[in-house]
Symmetry: C2
Subunit: 583 residues, 2 copies
């Protein structure tokens, strides 16, 4: 930004580049909708043409520009902001993510590269920052605070306080990301405290993640200087947090949808402490429903004033993070703006980033394709030849702890089931929908692994494997047949990561995710198409689940109840310890 | 702050120090008034006892503490914050200022040491920071941005961008103070731009000062990244600024009272972008009316919701400056709290700072007297023997430009008046209330000076002199008699600065201000008493003005219209140039 030039254009000494006329401009500061023009210089808003004056005495402002864009009476709002998103969940790189969500009016995101950081550490964070440069989108970052999520799994990297300290001053990093280790905060774990103090020192806000944390524990969490939460699932949970000064990010993602439940917490006081976020949103949902615009429309339909819904999507997020150059149509801010006809149901028709049209009628149409990202190194460092899915029987009862999938939920239950045995080994038992599941560590070369059982996947044959396995993203594989599991594991390694579906030692479908095993270099449309293919293939193996790879992806996450599996063992999350397979 | 200990107390693992029970606690986040207890540990709020739950499902919070304070059903609000104040205007040092305003519930101020910086430069800023340490008050600072105010006067120091850059990272400095040089911003003066960029780099907000700046010039000022203004005098001016994202500090000081005029700009949207400040408030007004509490009471009387008025006095200011440890009664914030009975007319009964009672029923009663400040070096570096008030006549018309005082205003007018002459010299003419006025530079030892005429002071005999002469604070003296003027100048030098009233070569009254010629080491009550004495003495010389030293103090300020006098000459402020005395 050439500040001098923007000021000169604001003062009228220089001509603006572009003048947007005949718009109904949403002023997120005063809540007004003002008929005025918007002058843009060097990508930044320099001035607003005269608006109706309630007092009849304001000075007239007129601007001229090289180019005039007639908005034909449509509404012009600041580009929307996503307060908390894992770009990795869209399974595309930042350039393709930008291309995918810009048409829906999201022009700024605060991205938490938590997933790639678990795979690649600081290099992963740096890759995302690099890949986000020079895009027609304002991609800012929150620095992952909890890598790895627990010490009951092997991640690709460890980000301790000394690793994150230098990054906190990076100009693109605006926060310490969701502090998921709330027990560590409440019990003042030294490394957690060191991270919080580093963030404080760097003047960065600290995002929270405190599902159902309440009472004195919540007060301890807030006292630690954690200023937001995006895990509320009820209005009372939100109110309890709001009262402590915690900002609420209302999440409407693919795995968790909290909008309806949280809207009762929005009122004349609290709205200014609330904002929207998607957290995790899968390609298909983005393409069919939209992004932050979808949340705004739903909020309006539920009775939230349209301007309020837009304020919560823009200035509230900007203020929370201390972002001073976005979130409003006002001098000195990025000319990131969205255009729509109907304020009661804003469907984004045009999107401008830094004053330039980047999308129209849902289609990305910036003259420059988002640049291909730098490539990342291989992350599939394990040896398939050492993989062994055989389970020697142990214990006397013949009963094993089995992960019971709950359809469309990230939580699981523990089932204790009789094991099908042959020659002293436990086998998959498709009749009772009890198949083998394994997690293989893919970073160190040690290829450490655990094998157990899962019920509820509904696989009657074949196997599926994936490298999207929260939060350490090791290889997770499940199948009715050991050989197909083996085939799947070899295939996923060959792809450099991704999703594979195998049946009868044949590849049925794949979605390659060569970027850290998490993302594709392809477009969000291509990924969405491939995703549909793999889901269809899994269904053909008998699975009734709507998104079996999403379900599979959470079976290794040992911070969500009840029974999970990691490379180090079967984890009883309630007891927070590794347990034996056999009872 | 021992963060670990506060968290442990919040979680209930450690006992709190103090528990405030039976209070009606004002929650500035949700706008609620909640019957709950407040637990304090190590000076910080660690937890809030259970409040009524609109949803009937929140966890119960109970705290225990070494000491229990029964608030007997009274209202407990966060301590008030003054968003912009020149402590120098209270004419006392920070410790005495704290003692003076704490009883009124002001527990945090953002002080702009602009006056002492004009006298002593960085050393003056550092003195104020040092003098503010270890006080039972949260004194934070905004760094003076415009020292000197103009180049048509000689100040004691120059603070350019390279001088302020290192200070911007000081932990007690939260902003770059009021950018009064708005022409410099609008015309992108390099030193001004360098200062703005340094503030941006340091992540500090920039306060504005843009009286009546409007239209494109205002947009240029806002585009530069100036985020507040405390100079609005009309609601439309405030609305115009609010629409640009500029935060409005509603000022109610001694010299400028804008509350009534700005209240029409407060509405359901704008309130969150507005806050209170005093700017300049003289001792007597503080002692008789109060401080921020006075503004809150007046706002409530004018129809502002009491909780809103308190939110504007607390959390709004905290958020604007990014102050995360004050402005709310919430875990992790300083236990700075005020207690009162009637929310419709909050008269502060008790004030707690960091959980400790510091004032009761309007009286400072902290166990420890505020420590005596470090002393500052002498700033009266001029030679009275070189001072000469004789004015040789010049020009042919026999007419001179005379500063016409407008009672109780800081602006003046220019009067062209016939001069009383004798032997080729122009003389004071008390019959027409046209007396000599001079400004003598008091820093460099050069003793540069200008002599002219003023009408409207009403002095029929004697002389008055002062070292409070905005913004360079040179010696300003006016009188009916040259010898008395000389006597006054010698006297004010001997005092080390202050106010003197002289008649017949005798001192009638003095208010010594040995701290940079601006402040006394005495208490605010003592200063107020001495002030009454000097005003009474000036009135006995014939002046009809209510506060002649305040009037005198603005006659040297060449940024406020119309005719002013500095050590360098008579200044036509509209033309922004030095003009001849004789027409």
């Amino acid at each position: 930004m050439n500040l001098e030039s923007v000021i000169a254009a604001a003062a009228g000494r220089e001509k603006a580049d572009t003048l947007f006329i005949n718009g109904k401009v949403i002023n997120v500061f005063t809540g007004e909708v003002l008929e005025q023009s918007v002058a843009v210089k060097d990508g930044y808003i320099c001035g607003l043409g005269s608006a109706p004056d309630p007092f009849g005495s304001l000075a007239l402002c007129r601007y001229s520009a090289d180019e005039v864009v007639d908005l034909k009476g449509m509404y012009l709002a600041p580009g929307f902001m996503d307060a908390h998103v894992h770009i990795e969940s869209s399974m595309v790189t930042p350039p393709q993510f930008a291309k995918g969500v810009l048409p829906f009016g999201t022009t700024t995101v605060i991205a938490d590269p938590h997933e790639i950081a678990n795979v690649m550490g600081v290099a992963g964070v740096e890759y995302m920052i690099k890949a986000a440069r020079d895009l027609p989108m304002n991609i800012l970052f929150a620095l992952p605070s909890c890598v790895p999520a627990t010490d009951m799994e092997t991640s690709g990297a460890i980000l301790n306080a000394s690793a994150i300290a230098p990054l906190l001053n990076h100009e693109k990093i605006v926060a310490l990301a969701e502090m998921m280790n709330y027990p560590g905060v409440i019990f003042t774990n030294p490394d957690v405290m060191a991270k919080l103090k580093e963030a404080r020192r760097a003047g960065r806000t600290v995002d929270g993640h405190a599902p159902r944390v309440t009472g004195r524990e919540l007060q301890a969490y807030a006292a630690a200087g954690i200023y937001s939460d995006h895990e509320c699932t009820t209005a009372q949970e939100a109110i309890e947090k709001l009262r402590l000064g915690v900002h609420i990010m209302v999440r409407e993602g693919t795995c968790a949808k909290n909008l309806d439940d949280l809207l009762p917490a929005v009122n004349e006081n609290t709205w200014q402490q609330m904002m929207w976020c998607t957290d995790d949103r899968h390609p298909e949902e983005i393409l069919t429903q939209g992004h932050i615009d979808h949340i705004i429309r739903r909020a309006i339909r539920s009775g939230i004033d349209p301007v309020r819904a837009i304020q919560m999507a823009t200035i509230n997020c900007a203020r929370y993070f201390g972002i001073k150059d976005a979130g409003a149509i006002a001098p000195g801010r990025r000319a990131d703006m969205v255009l729509f006809k109907n304020i009661e149901n804003p469907v984004i028709e045009k999107v401008f980033v830094k004053g330039v049209l980047v999308a129209q009628n849902g289609v990305f149409n910036h003259e420059r394709e988002p640049a291909l990202s730098a490539r990342v190194p291989e992350t599939m460092n394990f040896d398939p030849d050492t993989v062994d899915f055989s389970i020697p029987c142990a214990g006397k009862s013949g009963q094993a702890r089995v992960i019971r999938v709950i359809p469309d939920q990230v939580v699981t239950m523990e089932a204790v089931m009789e094991v099908l045995q042959r020659d002293g080994y436990a086998l998959s038992d498709i009749k009772r929908d009890m198949v083998k599941i394994a997690v293989i560590e893919r970073y160190s070369g040690n290829s450490g692994m655990t094998t157990g059982f899962v019920t509820g996947l509904g696989l009657s044959k074949g196997a599926i494997a994936s490298t999207v396995a929260h939060d350490s993203h090791n290889v997770i594989v499940a199948g009715a047949d050991d050989d197909d599991m083996m085939f799947a594991v070899r295939a996923v390694k060959e792809l450099g990561g991704g999703f594979v579906v195998v049946c009868g030692r044949k590849l049925m479908a794949t979605l390659p995710l060569p970027v850290a095993g998490l993302m594709s270099y392809d477009s969000i449309e291509q990924v969405s198409g491939a995703m549909a293919g793999v889901i269809k293939a899994v269904k053909s193996l008998g699975s009734p689940l709507s998104d079996p790879f999403m379900t599979l992806g959470f079976l290794a996450l040992p911070v969500i109840p009840s029974l999970k599996i990691t490379d180090r063992g079967l984890v009883d999350v309630e007891k927070f310890q590794i347990v034996e397979l056999f009872v």
